[in-house]
C-alpha cells in the first residue's frame, strides 16, 4: 500500500483550521498553529487559492475558505466563463479546419452546446447554443462520457436510442468506444447521429486534469473523414491543438 501524501494531509489540516476559525487567518497564524515553516504553509495556501478552496482578503492579506468549497458537487466552471475563455481558440479552429466548431458540457444526461462557431463559408447557419445533444451519438458526448464514470454508468444502464443505422446502441460497443477515446485522447462519430455527417472532438481540461468540456468540429462525412472512412488526421490534430490551448488557458489562470 502506498504511503500517505504529506502535503495533502497538511492541506486538509489548513482547511479544517480555516473552517473552525471565527475570522480570517494570516499565513503566520496558520503556520504557528500547525507548526509548519511559514514558506510551506504559504505554498499550500497559494495552491488552495489557485483551485478556489481558499480566498485571500485583498486588504488584510488573510485567508478564509473559498466559495468553490460550498458547491464542490456542482460544475465548478461556469458555462459562460468556459465560452469566454475558449472563444479565441474556437475561431481559429473553424478557420483552419473549414468546419463548424462546437463546445459542449454535460447537463442532465445530455451535451449542452455552450458555444458554436459557424462553418466559414457564409452559408445560412443558425446558432445552436443552448441545444441539447445525445451523449452516445455525438463526438462531443462520447468524449464527455469517456471521462465521467458515473454518467457513463447511467447511460450504459439505460436505453441507447438509435438515431441512424450506425448509432452505438449496444452498451458493450459503447463501453469499448469510450475506452478507445481514453486511449487516444480524442473521439469521433461517423454517421451515428445523422446520415452523411461526422464529427471529431477532444476534451478540455481544467485544474488537475479534470475534464470540464469538449471541443469539436462536425460536418459532411466526406470532408471530416478520409477515403477509408477514418477521421482525417489533420483535422484530428487541429481539434487536439485547440483543446490543449483552451486547457492551458484554464489551468494557468485563477478564478
Amino acid at each position: 500500500m502506498p504511503g500517505l501524501v504529506q502535503s495533502i494531509e497538511r492541506a486538509a489540516a489548513i482547511l479544517r483550521l480555516l473552517a473552525s476559525s471565527a475570522g480570517r487567518l494570516g499565513v503566520g497564524e496558520i503556520a504557528r498553529s500547525l507548526d509548519l515553516p511559514k514558506g510551506t504553509a504559504h505554498g499550500i495556501l497559494r495552491t488552495l487559492q489557485a483551485v478556489g478552496f481558499v480566498e485571500q482578503d485583498k486588504t488584510s492579506g488573510k485567508y478564509q475558505l473559498g466559495a468553490a468549497l460550498l458547491h464542490l458537487g456542482t460544475s465548478y466552471l461556469d458555462v459562460n466563463e468556459l465560452r469566454s475563455r475558449s472563444i479565441n481558440w474556437a475561431d481559429p479552429l473553424a478557420a483552419r479546419s473549414g468546419e463548424a466548431v462546437r463546445i459542449g458540457t454535460l447537463l442532465e444526461g445530455k451535451v449542452l452546446v455552450v458555444h458554436h462557431v459557424f462553418r466559414p463559408d457564409d452559408s445560412l447557419q443558425t446558432l445552436d447554443v443552448g441545444a441539447l445533444l445525445p451523449l452516445h451519438a455525438t463526438a462531443l458526448g462520447k468524449v464527455l462520457l469517456a471521462y465521467d464514470a458515473s454518467t457513463a454508468a447511467t447511460v450504459l444502464r439505460g436505453e441507447l436510442e438509435p438515431y441512424s443505422r450506425r448509432t452505438l446502441v449496444n452498451p458493450r460497443a459503447l463501453a469499448r468506444a469510450l475506452a478507445a477515446v481514453r486511449d487516444a485522447g480524442w473521439g469521433a462519430e461517423v454517421e451515428e447521429m445523422t446520415v452523411g455527417e461526422a464529427g471529431i472532438a477532444a476534451p478540455i481540461r481544467g485544474y488537475g486534469g479534470l475534464v470540464v468540456g469538449a471541443i469539436g468540429v462536425s460536418g459532411a462525412v466526406e470532408r471530416i473523414c478520409d477515403t477509408k472512412g477514418q477521421p482525417n488526421p489533420t483535422l484530428v490534430a487541429y481539434v487536439r491543438d485547440a483543446a490543449r490551448a483552451v486547457s492551458r488557458d484554464l489551468g494557468a489562470a485563477r478564478w
Binding site: N80, E81, R83, S84, I87, A95
Partner: protein, 503 residues
C-alpha cells in the same frame, strides 16, 4: 518563395499589441505589453509616451520572430492607435514634454467651458464636425501650452511637435530626431477639432480659435499610404497605414459600403456607420468623422456614436457590487430570471455620451420593488448596453437616411450570447460576429497591405471576412416598443442630477 506577412501595431489605452497576419487575414502571432496608467488627480489620466515607444521596440521584433519570419518577409507595417491622446515633444531631442494626456482625461473641462463663451465658437462645430468637448485633442494641446512654463515660446519657435500616438510612433520608427517623418493620418486628424472636415486640412480659423501654432502640427496624410521606411525595429520595412482604433475596426470589419456599420463592445461601445463620400452632419448628437482614406481616392466619411459605459458596467457589477466573480458570470446570473422585472439601470457614471451629451447626468437604477433580485439587476446591466446601442442606431438612421440592415459586432462582450441576442431584439436587425475577433489590428494590417499591393483591392479583403455567429431578432414588436419607452423614461430621470453648489 517564403511566405510574406503584414505587421500590425495596435497602440491601445492599456496595452500595445503587435500581431502578424498572413494573406488570408489569419493571425499568425501576437505579442502584447501593458503600460503604466498614471492618475495624478481626479479626472486626470496620463501615459508615458517614451515607455510606449520602448514597448513597441520590444514587442515588434518578438512577434515577427514568433511568426518564424525575418524583416525581409514583412510586406508592410500598419498602425492603429488610441485616439485623441495627446503628446508634445522636443523636435531635436525626441523627449516628450511631460506625460501624454489620455483621451479619458477631463482636465480641460473648465477650459472648454471658457472656450464655449468665446465669440465665434459657433463655427467650431461646423468646421470640425465635432461638438466642443474635453474628449478631443485640440483643447489638450492648448492646456499644455498654457500650463507648461516656456512651452508656448518654444512652440512658436518651431521646436515643439504635436502628435497623437500614431504620429509619435511613425516619427520614432523613421528616425526620431534624425530625420523622423512628422505625419498624422486623416482619421486621427479628424479627432483634433483642428481640421476642416470638408477640405481635410488644418483650418487656420480653428488654429487661431484654440491658439495653437501651425508649426507644431504634423502633415495630414491618407490612412493607407506609404509614409516612409522604418529605420529601426524592422529596418527597411515600409510603414504603410495608420488609423484611429475605431476606424481601424470599421476597416477590419470590411464596412466599405455606405450603410454598413460596426459596433465594438469593450469598456465602452463605439458604433461607426460608413456614410460613403458624403459628409453627413449630425443633427441627432453623433460625431462626423473620417472613416478612412485610401491614397489617391476620395475620403470615406463615417458617423460615430460613442457610448461611454458598456463593459465597464459589468466590471462595476463585479468589482464594486461583488455580485459575480468573473465578467462572463453576468450572463449566468441574468439567465436565472426571465426578464428585468421592471428594473432599468442607466450607467451615466460620468454623464452620458452619444446621442445625449449630458455631462450633468448621473447613473440611476429605477423600477426597484421588493420583487427585484440580483438576477434582475444583472439583466438590467446587460440591457443597458443594448438600449444605448438602440439610441445611437436611431440617431444614425435619422441623420443618414440609411436604415441599418445588419450590425457587425466585435470586442470582448460578443462572447455574451444573451447580450448579443438582446441587441438583435431591440435593433430588430441581425447581429453578426466575424471569425477574426481582432478587428482593430486586422484593419490596420488591411490598410497597410492594400497600400503596398499585398492585397489587391477592397473586394479581395471582403472575401477574407467570414461570419462566425449570427443572432436574429425575435422580440415581439409591442414588447420592444414598451421596453424602449421604459428605457427612455429611465434616461430622463438620469438627466440634471449634478447641480452647481448652492451659493
Amino acid at each position: 518563395m517564403p511566405e510574406r506577412y503584414v505587421v500590425s501595431i495596435d497602440q491601445g489605452t492599456t496595452s500595445t499589441r503587435c500581431i502578424v497576419f498572413d494573406r488570408r487575414g489569419q493571425l499568425v502571432s501576437v505579442v502584447q505589453r501593458e503600460h503604466q496608467q498614471y492618475f495624478p488627480k481626479p479626472g486626470w489620466v496620463e501615459h508615458d509616451a517614451t515607455e510606449i515607444w520602448r514597448n513597441v521596440e520590444r514587442i515588434v521584433p518578438r512577434a515577427v520572430a514568433q511568426a518564424g519570419a525575418g524583416p525581409e518577409q514583412i510586406a508592410a507595417i500598419g498602425i492603429a492607435n488610441q485616439r485623441e491622446t495627446t503628446v508634445l515633444w522636443d523636435r531635436r531631442t525626441g523627449v516628450p514634454y511631460g506625460n501624454a494626456i489620455v483621451w479619458q482625461d477631463t482636465r480641460t473641462d473648465s477650459l472648454v467651458d471658457e472656450l464655449a463663451r468665446v465669440p465665434g465658437v459657433e463655427a467650431v462645430s461646423q468646421r470640425s464636425g465635432l461638438p466642443l468637448a474635453t474628449y478631443f485633442s485640440g483643447p489638450r494641446i492648448r492646456w499644455m501650452l498654457d500650463n507648461t512654463p516656456g512651452l508656448r515660446e518654444r512652440a512658436e519657435r518651431g521646436d515643439v511637435l504635436f502628435g497623437t500616438m500614431e504620429t509619435w510612433l511613425v516619427w520614432n520608427l523613421t528616425g526620431g530626431p534624425e530625420g523622423g517623418i512628422h505625419i498624422t493620418d486623416v482619421t486621427n486628424a479628424s479627432r483634433t477639432m483642428l481640421m476642416d472636415i470638408t477640405t481635410l486640412e488644418w483650418d487656420p480659423y480653428l488654429l487661431s480659435f484654440f491658439g495653437i501654432p501651425a508649426s507644431m502640427l504634423p502633415e495630414i496624410r491618407s490612412s493607407a499610404q506609404v509614409y516612409g521606411t522604418s529605420r529601426t525595429v524592422l529596418p527597411g520595412v515600409e510603414i504603410a497605414a495608420a488609423l484611429g482604433d475605431q476606424q481601424a475596426a470599421l476597416f477590419g470589419q470590411t464596412c466599405f459600403a455606405p450603410g454598413e456599420a460596426k459596433c465594438t463592445y469593450g469598456t465602452g461601445g463605439f458604433l461607426l456607420l460608413n456614410t460613403g463620400r458624403e459628409l453627413v452632419r449630425s443633427t441627432h448628437g453623433l460625431l462626423s468623422t473620417v472613416g478612412y482614406r485610401i491614397d489617391g481616392e476620395a475620403p470615406v466619411y463615417a458617423l460615430e456614436g460613442p457610448i461611454a459605459i458598456a463593459g465597464s458596467l459589468v466590471q462595476w457589477f463585479r468589482d464594486r457590487l461583488e455580485l459575480i466573480s468573473t465578467a462572463p458570470e453576468i450572463e449566468t446570473l441574468a439567465r436565472s430570471v426571465d426578464n428585468n422585472g421592471g428594473c432599468y439601470i442607466v450607467p451615466a457614471f460620468s454623464g452620458l455620451f452619444a446621442p445625449h451629451w449630458r455631462s450633468e447626468a448621473r447613473g440611476v437604477i429605477v423600477g426597484l420593488t421588493s420583487y427585484i433580485t440580483k438576477g434582475h439587476l444583472a439583466r438590467a446591466v446587460l440591457e443597458a448596453t443594448g438600449w444605448q446601442t438602440r439610441e445611437v442606431v436611431d440617431a444614425m438612421n435619422a441623420d443618414s437616411g440609411l436604415a441599418l440592415r445588419t450590425l457587425k459586432v466585435d470586442g470582448g462582450m460578443t462572447s455574451d450570447n444573451l447580450l448579443m441576442q438582446f441587441i438583435a431584439d431591440v435593433l430588430d436587425v441581425p447581429v453578426v460576429r466575424p471569425m477574426v475577433a481582432e478587428t482593430v489590428s486586422l484593419g490596420a494590417a488591411y490598410a497597410a497591405g492594400l497600400a503596398v499591393g499585398y492585397w489587391p483591392d477592397l473586394e479581395g479583403l471582403r472575401q477574407n471576412w467570414h461570419r462566425a455567429g449570427q443572432w436574429l431578432p425575435a422580440m415581439d414588436p409591442q414588447r420592444r416598443a414598451q421596453e424602449y419607452d421604459n428605457w427612455q423614461r429611465a434616461v430622463e430621470r438620469a438627466f440634471g442630477w449634478i447641480k452647481q453648489p448652492l451659493a
